[in-house]
Symmetry: C2
Subunit: 402 residues, 2 copies
């Protein structure tokens, strides 16, 4: 039996015409491969006027090949999660036009007029309310999938349908294992090697990481996107789309918030790479504003939803909402520190840092990232307000050499 | 289509002979219904020399009928859990001779020479090491099914195969909802009605209950028996068998320990019903010893297992084992208080208390149970040693009127 193959252009044209009525003439269709991530095959199919996206999963990682197998069930989870996101927050994700389970293919809306948020931030654009939009989106997703709203049996069926063991296992390694030991998969710049070596010896830090990893592995609180970095968010000046939820699973609510927060903080840290001080200050002020928007809108919206309706009679108990949200905030701070660490010295870096051309400035940016990350993990129980977080960011930046 | 029916005697004889080779002559077999619990149909099939137990689940609760549906998948979970228990701790449960999924029937070893631990304790027998035996059994079960030992993917497959939404939902109601409000399902004796009313108003207590319930619903730490009261344990002077794990699911480790501890404490409280003081003191001293054995052997064994082998490299982090076990102890104390409360004023009482004939003494026993239960829930973070627990028990008993 031969291994499953990517669809060829002719098969893609036929598939699209069989499963949508967007196009008139199959032979007119242009197929363009636009795979941006590393894992799947993604194509834009267009007749010049209309277009759709076709995403195909094969049982291995695209850029590596059959040597790194990955179950195709991930695309079922992605299709299901995209639908759930749009159900919670209309238009928050590309519309799924068709999901063909037997071929592991999603046909979805083309969001070509939206731009990758990471690239938007790197080139210095400043969408004004993306922080609060994403905070509200996440709060709605987490609330809607939680025991606060769902019937206990329905929620456990949701947990079952989002069990995603292999992809969770990858996260458990690349977030929580590699960056906190001298792992061969790590990618540590010379400039921060001594900092990395110090953190590999830091037992207080590593105990915090272990506690957070245990939460990640065990606490099936809410449906998570599971990989919500700024490259999974596409934006216009006033709107956004969240994509690529193939790592979705039921886990601790703080994880998504922490990962997204971390990516804004990585963008913040990368500004240290800029020689133009006024520009740097302006962008950092913008990012602090977005960070505050994100955190405040997440907790504000979640709290408002809990005030409005908790279906479960026991969870209505006075005071539990506050305890619950405090726990989410604490773990979000910790998960943010973990994402920042892994994106600075782990296998998968971010362009925000990697594209800094001046080596010395790049080192400063990486140092800021690692310092802030360690503080977030160690001080996560103390960062109870957004002001505490903003103060920590300023303190860490002030402590940089030079 | 007619509803599924219990097997008749002739079908039972044929089933047993088809699926075991224990018996020579099908026509010689005696079938005796021995259903002790309320939910399933249980029969002993014997030829006078050898015997087996046949347990059949129907899609409803036996003593209520089709008006209370209950999914038959529970018996698959029971068969699977019995096998897992015996794999972890050989001979700790009846051997499953055959499981017939299509008919929802388990054939298992007859443990007729073992006696129901609740009845053993009620009649004043004192098996000397049951506490430590059960503590070791539970520690081994929880360790073996945890992320400490299992590969992350294997563990999540275990979680999936033990998802038990409907039976969990029942527990979420009868443990955590009913007893803490004035619910129509409750069964509150006149003598403790005012205490019950006070606890329904006790927000500190109810917040603790809510936190524990959220753990029960979300923390998929280890495979739990899920209903480990003293009626689910059968004993001889030197051995035990754990039965009836149809409520098994992945949940917080403290739950099983707490429920079992609670049932020993209920037996302790019921001694207040005895007029013979020396006998009462002797039995209470015995029960304190068993309680200390249970808790110390559970934590001693779990700790020893963790010292011997943690497969997961991150969870090997120094200090995490201690934090983990402290969390289990804290929640076990809380779950114990919840089980005691529900067994005193909820829908399903225990014979230990209900069979006390003198009304005044029965009230004292119920008061001791409720007082101790509330203290366990509220003080669960402070009960960090077995001595703390023993002191609390003595204090609560000393505070009784008269």
């Amino acid at each position: 039996m031969t291994a499953p193959q990517p669809l060829n252009d002719q098969e893609i044209r036929a598939f699209v015409c069989r499963h949508t009525d967007v196009f008139q003439d199959q032979q007119m269709l242009q197929v363009e491969e636009i795979s941006d991530g590393n894992i799947n095959f993604v194509y834009r199919v267009s007749d010049g006027q209309n277009s759709v996206i076709l995403k195909q999963a094969l049982p291995y990682i695209r850029i590596i090949g059959e040597g790194w197998p990955l179950p195709v069930d991930r695309i079922r989870i992605e299709a299901q999660a995209l639908g759930f996101f749009n159900m919670c927050s209309p238009n928050s994700s590309p519309e799924v036009l068709h999901f063909e389970r037997s071929q592991h293919v999603i046909l979805m809306e083309d969001i070509g007029d939206y731009h990758n948020l990471r690239h938007v931030l790197i080139r210095g654009d400043k969408p004004t309310s993306i922080g609060s939009q994403l905070g509200q989106f996440l709060a709605m997703l987490h609330y809607t999938s939680s025991d606060f709203l769902l019937d206990s049996i329905a929620k456990k069926c949701m947990v079952a349908s989002y069990l995603n063991p292999q992809l969770c296992s990858i996260s458990e390694e690349v977030y929580f294992l590699d960056p906190f030991c001298d792992h061969e998969r790590n990618n540590v710049s010379q400039g921060v090697r001594s900092m990395a070596q110090a953190l590999w010896q830091d037992d207080e830090l590593k105990l915090g990481v272990t506690q957070l990893r245990y939460q990640f592995m065990n606490d099936a609180q809410v449906l998570l996107h599971g990989d919500l970095h700024t490259g999974s968010v596409f934006v216009t000046q006033s709107a956004f789309k969240v994509i690529d939820p193939e790592f979705a699973f039921y886990g601790p609510a703080g994880f998504d918030l922490g990962v997204l927060l971390a990516n804004l903080l990585l963008s913040y840290a990368s500004q240290v790479g800029k020689s133009h001080v006024a520009q740097r200050d302006e962008t950092q002020a913008y990012l602090i504003d977005q960070i505050e928007q994100l955190v405040n809108s997440y907790f504000g919206e979640f709290d408002a939803l809990l005030q409005a309706k908790i279906n479960d009679p026991v969870l209505q108990q006075q005071g539990f909402d506050t305890l619950f949200l405090a726990g989410v905030r604490e773990s979000a701070m910790g998960f943010a520190g973990i994402e920042m660490t892994r994106r600075t010295i782990g296998i998968a870096h971010v362009a925000d840092l990697d594209e800094i051309e001046d080596d010395e400035r790049k080192t400063l940016a990486e140092m800021l990232s690692l310092t802030l990350a360690a503080s977030l993990i160690k001080q996560r129980t103390k960062l109870t307000t957004t002001a505490d977080l903003a103060a920590l960011i300023k303190d860490c930046q002030a402590s940089l050499p030079g």
